[in-house]
Amino acid sequence: MSTQQEQPPETDDTSTETVESSTDAGPAPQDRRMEEKADRRARRERTADEIDAGTETVHLKVFRYDPEVAEKQEPRFDDFHVPFEKGMTVLDALIYARDEFDPSLTFRHSCRQAVCGSDAFFVNGRQRLGCQTQISDLDGPVRVEPLPHQDVVKDLVVDMGHFYEQMHAVEPYFQEEEDLPDGDLEEQFQTRENREKVKMSTRCIWCGACMSSCNIAAGDNEYLGPAAINKAYRFAMDDREGEELKEHRLRILEQEHGVWRCQTQFSCTEVCPKDIPLTEHIQELKREAVKKNLKFW
């Protein structure tokens, strides 16, 4: 029921009656919920009026699926017409649709400024961050789907478990224990050149867009994937970790499902919302792995 955006006018009358009849007998929380529901309906009608009045709207086609609700077990697209505002992002439009039309519309979001990496969606056939994508840059209708190649939990929410496992597999933390400077407050410095080298790789926000766009990762579940390899690059190239640790990291990367699976399609580099040159980093690690193993005598 609540997943429907536009309700035919006949049902409006009957549901108004139920609100009135339940007001006397029903418990307080239900009253409150019923009031809220009536409120939302009123707002929805107002928006509909605005649409009639010729306000510019955005046509959203949003993927809906929920294995726990009988009507949503068959995946489908719901249409939402959201009033357009200057500077509106895909995430803004989704939030509006959820708050004003359908509270059951489910998606992850947090910071709304491309830092938390929780709102990567498949928008108009491409992996993008909802909060970073301007509606005005897209051709309508805007089609929003969950990330491909990941299990859909509900609506736009995908299971990120496998992605996080791959990220953790490359030991994404600083491990140097020798050569640490003496004294509690002593800092361990990195040269400016070295910082510049790893700068782009540190930008990763774990949104999973690259992994979703990579069709090698789609076919090979054990492949580490662009994000994890980039994370490994960030530490392998850091001068503050010694040679031994770098070798340890390369041993993880040069395994069968490590860097060699990359076939330089550049899909990850194209979709990365933080513009990390992922393919370049993977290629550099391939060369490092070759250098380590090449022996001429």
Partner: protein, 141 residues
């Protein structure tokens, strides 16, 4: 990953809408590679069936040995001439994109990987067009 839940046609066709150059290059490289392998085996098959000419000097001089007649017969077909032009296009693209991939492996010009793909397409087209007069001479049309 996506085993437990199949998004059906949405999944299959949604991904085809916006292919980036790098992806097209990958697909074409695989495609042309398979065609070249297929050609290699056809080539071996044709040559090995024509081996009966070996040692038969009189027939070779007369020009009616198995090898000569087989090849002349094939070259006389319009379809074979067309396929030869196609084979050249496939081979040239595979070579040029192979060089492009070599550059990518060496870490040279990764920012212009899309441009190098377009260049290899254009050069392939130019060579193919230029080869048409040579390949299509004397065909019985």
């Amino acid at each position: 990953m996506s085993d437990s839940y199949n998004r059906g046609l949405i999944e299959d066709f949604g991904r085809w809408r916006e292919f980036a150059p790098g992806m097209w290059a990958w697909i074409l490289h695989k495609f042309t590679g398979w065609i070249l392998i297929g050609y290699l085996f056809t080539h071996i098959a044709v040559l090995s069936t024509a081996l009966g000419a070996a040692g038969n000097t009189a027939a070779i001089e007369a020009g009616d040995d198995v090898y000569t007649t087989t090849l002349q017969g094939l070259e006389g077909l319009f379809l074979v001439r067309i396929l030869e032009v196609g084979l050249l296009a496939v081979a040239v693209f595979h070579i040029l994109n192979g060089v492009r991939l070599l550059m990518i492996d060496l870490g040279i010009g990764l920012e212009s990987q899309d441009k190098s793909f377009y260049v290899s397409l254009v050069v392939t087209a130019a060579i193919t067009v230029a080869s048409v007069p040579t390949f299509m001479t004397g065909v019985g049309v």
